[in-house]
């Protein structure tokens, strides 16, 4: 058994272990409560939901 093998076995055990701890911690802090409203993040008062942008092609009444 060389160092690499020990590292790998250690890694195989450690990775899911740490992942479980992290998930538990995150769920306690409420980080996993994803609200659907996060989907609104690209929008704001300047460019709210419902307003299309970049409508520049094929516009009959295009004027500057």
């Amino acid at each position: 058994m060389n160092v690499l093998a020990i590292l790998m076995i250690g890694g195989v055990l450690a990775v899911p272990g740490v992942a479980l701890v992290a998930l538990r911690w995150a769920s306690h802090r409420g980080e996993l409560n994803l609200p659907e409203r996060a989907a609104l993040l690209p929008f704001d008062e300047e460019e709210p939901v419902g307003r299309a942008t970049d409508q520049i092609l094929n516009r009959q009444s295009a004027e500057s």
């Binding site: 409420g30 994803l34 609200p35 659907e36 409203r37 996060a38 989907a39 609104l40 993040l41 690209p42 929008f43 704001d44 008062e45 300047e46 460019e47 709210p48 939901v49 419902g50 307003r51 299309a52 942008t53 970049d54 409508q55 520049i56 092609l57 094929n58 516009r59 009444s61 295009a62 004027e63 500057s64």
Partner: protein, 495 residues
């Protein structure tokens, strides 16, 4: 909880809370991105032109081997890696970084932090790449696919990349919008994954090469992950931002996007060794990659359903928005190329198509159809906003779109088919090898024609951009107007 509902109220149209007043205005953010983003994007597009020229030379050589044959530096085995590296590290990576910088600023709600840092990174990136591509042409290619750039230039690229990553982490830390949108997960992941991949591959293949076929394992772990963990997340981040932004409607399901992200993160990085099916590797390595490739059905269908449902009822807007056109075609190609890739990774299918031009068609459907198209779409949105100038010619935009769309279809569909026929013929030992070669010629000639169409599209795009830039730096001072964002926003812009 209370903090999040407070921020949420700030997101509602018309509501100006304390939180939102701290956030920079879109126009302010866009203007701050101008120099570094343009630097990356313009260099990326110049590399695109160079890469297209190299691609055409390579493509012609494959059906007319006598073409430019007397110059050693233009022999097929050098032009092809030179093409790959210019489009991967020159065009796709730099344009991708440009788009990433802008998206990060916008979603973090901060004006560009340390533009000098990013610009220095871009300068070094281009120096490193120029040295490397010249190196390939004069014979210093490593012949390790996706990692052909010679050893003496890759540290420069890595250093320059590290600057970009540092920039991204600073921006991320300084963000004024605490909540993260799905695009930011993908961008952050790409930015952290790439240096790990690149460092591993450089150390284990170029600096202190491992022995024997371990090289092949590292090579394909790296090469496939450049696609899966660098380009794919940047492309998906753009799609997740631009489709909702252009049509003015939030993404269909935020939960699906979470599922899509984490399943991609879990499975994609195990895919690489399906490139070695039938090769001299222990079977478990290949099998594990095949399993992971099939698992990619989860992120791919999730993302496809999510994007399609978001677009549902808004397909009419494709007529008006160049960004939407390119991005939606890119999203469709992502689904198509992923499904094709899953098929390619199955042993029975791979037995036929593995060593054929089918693979080349597949790679272009992914990198061009998906990634490049999404980048083009993103640039149509970003450039007018950071320069405060309209696109001078709508005709050139249409030309760009249709030339690339047709070129792409003519490239991918026939060559995929031709590749299957080539593979079937090759697996039939009674067909002499030269007959197999002869059978590929019509497809290869069609490919050159398709390449010309793509080149035409690129020239139209770059021409339009040069025209636009001439208005930025020239006497023409007409600012951005209503047509840019849709007539109804004229009042906002004109204030």
């Amino acid at each position: 909880m209370s903090a999040s509902s407070q921020t949420f109220s700030a997101l509602l149209p018309g509501d100006v809370s304390d939180d939102s007043s701290k956030r920079a205005l879109l126009a302010e953010i866009d203007a701050s991105c101008r120099v570094p983003v343009l630097f990356f994007v313009i260099s990326g597009l110049l590399w695109l032109l160079a890469g297209t020229a190299l691609a055409l030379v390579a493509s012609i050589k494959l059906h007319s081997p006598g073409f430019l044959a007397s110059w050693e530096f233009l022999t097929f085995g050098r032009v092809r890696p030179a093409h790959l590296n210019t489009v991967i590290y020159g065009f796709a990576s730099q344009t991708g970084i440009g788009v990433t910088l802008w998206l990060m600023c916008r979603l973090c709600r901060v004006p560009f932090v340390a533009p000098g840092l990013a610009t220095v990174a871009a300068i070094f990136w281009n120096i490193g790449l120029t040295v490397g591509v010249v190196g390939i042409l004069i014979g210093d290619s490593t012949s390790i696919e996706w990692l052909e750039l010679p050893r003496y230039c890759t540290p420069i690229l890595f250093f320059s990349y590290a600057l970009v990553a540092v920039w991204a982490i600073i921006t991320f830390r300084l963000r004024r919008e605490q909540h993260l949108y799905v695009s930011q997960w993908y961008l952050l992941a790409a930015i952290l994954w790439f240096p790990w991949l690149y460092a591993t591959a450089q150390i284990m293949l170029l600096i202190e090469p491992v022995r024997g076929v371990v090289q092949a394992a590292v090579n394909w772990w790296f090469a496939h992950n450049v696609l899966g963990l660098w380009f794919t997340p940047i492309g998906l981040a753009s799609i997740y931002y631009f489709i909702p932004k252009v049509i003015g409607r939030p993404i269909h399901s935020y939960y699906l996007s979470v599922l899509g992200f984490w399943s991609l993160a879990l499975f994609y990085n195990w895919n690489g060794l399906h490139h070695l099916i039938g090769g001299p590797m222990p079977a478990w390595m290949i099998t594990v990659s095949i399993v992971a490739s099939v698992m990619m059905l989860i992120p791919v269908t999730t993302v496809a359903i999510n994007h399609h449902m978001t677009m549902w009822g808004h397909f009419g807007k494709l007529k008006h928005s160049p960004t939407l056109r390119f991005v939606v075609v890119g999203a469709l190609c992502y689904t198509a190329t992923s499904l094709q890739g899953i098929a390619n990774s199955l042993r029975s299918y791979s037995e036929v198509v593995h060593f054929t031009h089918h693979t080349i068609a597949h790679a272009h459907l992914g990198l061009y159809g998906f990634f490049a198209m999404v980048m083009f779409g993103s640039l149509y949105y970003i450039i007018p906003r950071i320069t405060q100038r309209e696109w001078p010619s709508l005709g050139l935009i249409s030309l760009h779109f249709w030339a690339c769309f047709l070129g792409l279809a003519l490239y991918v569909v026939p060559l995929s088919l031709g590749g299957i026929l080539q593979g079937l013929a090759m697996n039939d030992a009674s067909v002499p090898f030269l007959k197999v070669v002869e059978g590929t010629l019509p497809w290869l000639k069609l490919r050159t024609f398709a390449g010309l169409l793509l080149g035409l599209g690129h020239v139209a795009f770059v021409g339009n951009l040069v025209w636009l830039l001439a208005r930025v730096f020239g006497p023409y001072r007409k600012p951005v107007v209503a047509i840019l964002m849709g007539a109804e926003t004229a009042a906002v812009v004109g204030k």
